[in-house]
């Protein structure tokens, strides 16, 4: 952005510490009256050096670190890391472990989307919806807590399996919670679809076209809301997603309304996936039989090689590139997170809109700064 400011223009910083943000980033706006003339995004305020830390920890210790990439998607981040290591080692988790992973990751997706929609609602001044969403998210977190023992950073996945088996009556309890959420979700969606003010604020605002989205590498709900049916679970299935029936939720418009709609639909799809997974889940071991991998794998050496894995994060395509030199620590880890490209779509989107829309658009992208900065 040009630093020269006309006398009638105002250079406004939104951030690094601002209410619209899930984490610190800087959005410089050049305003003419209420209109955003130009925008610039600056990131990196909470760079934690996770890639570098991963290179200095043993593989096993790395699992805990990957929890910290994004506090809303700890399970999928575990998944991509474990996937890489499993591919390098050449093992595959047994069926039961895979189903458990699917269940847990879909639960994680549900809670992440609920929070995303809720946070977006606050940015429209709709605080009540945020609290409703949080209330339902708490239930889902409790479910995850029942299995993993923690609410945010689970460290639940292990190479070749999962740490704990599901509790005995987990399926019934989970389904009762999820059915309740499904019912409430219908109510909420009804509200979203009929509220005149909400529609005025969201329909046709912040349109992300498929072209811009794919040019910038945006993935996840923002991309699907633009009409591109891209979902790693379908396009490049991992775990047992091949055996499960679900559809990729897409919308055509690409505006804020569509993005929220996609998230709401995806929550329903996730519930459907979990339902099937509970039906199909077989009995069996949690770790591949006859291998040394289990709950505790103190020191393991991974054969030299390189691998790229990707999974579908709640926010889009989460990829990890890993090089192993045969030692007990990865030689190089590169994370391709979904949020960084998503955030890059912000400046072109908010150019020409009003200041009030900036908050709505930024929140509808559901960025997680923690993950973008890593």
């Amino acid at each position: 952005m040009e630093q020269t400011i006309a006398p009638s223009e105002m250079l406004l910083h939104l951030g690094p510490q601002h209410a619209i943000q899930p984490g610190p980033y800087l959005l410089d706006l050049k305003l003419r009256g209420e209109t955003v003339v130009d925008a610039e995004l600056e990131m990196g305020y909470i760079h934690k050096g996770i890639e570098k830390i991963l290179e200095n920890k043993t593989y096993f210790q790395g699992i805990t670190i990957t929890d910290r990439i994004c506090y809303l998607a700890a399970l999928t981040n575990n998944e991509v890391f474990c996937n890489c290591v499993e591919k390098l080692v050449g093992i595959e988790p047994p069926q039961r472990a895979q189903y458990i992973r699917v269940i847990m990751e879909e639960l994680s997706r549900i809670q992440s989307h609920l929070l995303g929609i809720g946070e977006f609602s606050t940015d429209l001044g709709f605080v009540t919806m945020f609290l409703y969403m949080i209330r339902e998210r708490e239930e889902v977190l409790s479910l995850i807590d029942m299995v993993t023992g923690s609410r945010i950073t689970h460290s639940y996945l292990r190479f070749g399996g999962v740490r704990e088996d599901l509790p005995e009556d987990f399926a019934e309890r989970a389904m009762s919670v999820l059915n309740e959420i499904k019912k409430k979700l219908d109510e909420h969606e009804d509200l979203y679809n009929t509220d005149k003010i909400y529609l005025q604020r969201t329909v046709g605002v912040g349109v992300l076209t498929a072209k811009i989205a794919s040019d910038l590498g945006v993935s996840g709900p923002p991309l699907r809301a633009a009409g591109v049916a891209f979902d790693i679970r379908k396009n490049e299935p991992y775990l047992v997603y091949n055996d499960l029936d679900f559809k990729v939720c897409t919308e055509k418009e690409g505006d804020i309304f569509a993005r929220i709609k996609v998230r709401l639909d995806e929550i329903r799809e996730s519930i459907y996936i979990i339902e099937q997974a509970f039906d199909q889940i077989p009995q069996g071991p949690l770790f591949p039989v006859g291998t040394p991998y289990g709950r505790r794998t103190p020191v393991m050496r991974v054969p030299a090689g390189e691998v790229f894995c990707r999974v579908e994060d709640p926010r889009g395509e989460m990829g990890m590139y890993m090089i192993s030199d045969g030692s007990d620590k990865p030689y190089r880890v590169k994370i391709r997170g979904p949020v960084f490209p998503t955030m890059q779509a912000l400046p072109p989107l908010i150019k020409g809109t009003y200041v009030a829309d900036v908050a709505a658009i930024a929140a509808s992208m559901d960025g997680c700064t923690s993950e973008a900065d890593r």
Binding site: G125, F126, L131, Y354, V355, A356, V358, A363
Partner: protein
Amino acid sequence: MMSIVEFLFNPWVRGILGLALIGIIFFSAVITVWLERKFGADIQSRIGPNRVGGRFGLLQLIADAIKLFTKEDLIPAKADKLLFVMAPIVILGSAFMMIVAIPFGAIVIGDNSYPIAATEFDISVLYLEAVSALSVLGIFMAAYGSNNKYSMLAAFRNIARMIGYEVPLGISIIGIAVMVQSLNIVEIAQAQSPLWFIFVQPIGFAVFFISILADMGRLPFDQNEAEEELVAGWGTEYTGMRWGLGLFAEYIHMILGSCLMVLLYFGGWNLPKFITDIYVIGMFAPIYWFIAKVVVVVMTIIMIRWALPRFRIDQVVDLGWKVLFPLSVLNLLWAVALGLFFGA
């Protein structure tokens, strides 16, 4: 007996006694802050303030007051100190000046009813409208004084909203005045004793309600304090009590707006004669009746706040000019027709 009444009607005595109303309204503003939190919490299925103690977290009020009084008072280095200091005075002054003209119920003795108001004059409705518009200037002063970009944006939004809603508000009030042929708020309230004006002029009420919500800056219309983009609006640079004064002014505006609504559309304090004839209880019954109505209106406003998302500023102004203005003119014609039919 008459001498006491005469004494009480001496304007000096009335004015000084009326100052008690400021205290009462200030206190009810504090209560409203609490009510907003607690009722909001109920709507959102959570508990609300409960940590400080007291039944229903009532001690939270005292804690808040202590906090406001003991916070350091900062004036930013880049501020225009005079405007910065004057702004809360103007904002609060606008609220105080409104209190003068609003009757808060009445005491009925025999056939006479004595409205509880600091004063009573012929054009009090117009006066209220004029004085409440002053707070916009106060907010502009605060914004310009604090030299903060968010505040400036907020102040301009505030002005834009005011120019969008002042005209429909005025026309809907004329709709009332046409029926009563008076701008005296006491007479308007008393004219509704058989039939509330909300039933006579539903369109006018809708216009008035939306306009006064916008005037108060309550949620679908609180663009000037949209914390998601403008942090804290005009009050971004204000700390402690200086900000608190503005906050109280806002809540006082809300209460007074509700009072105005009750007086103009919900029949004021009027009760059937057989109730006011009951000795002592009947004397004060209109006050309770009035307060009950005001509480209902305030609760409704709070509920609306928690139930709706926020408009964007251009949509707000559009609503005012393109929907409410024609509606208010329509209502005026309807009111004139009614006035001619019944008045002539």
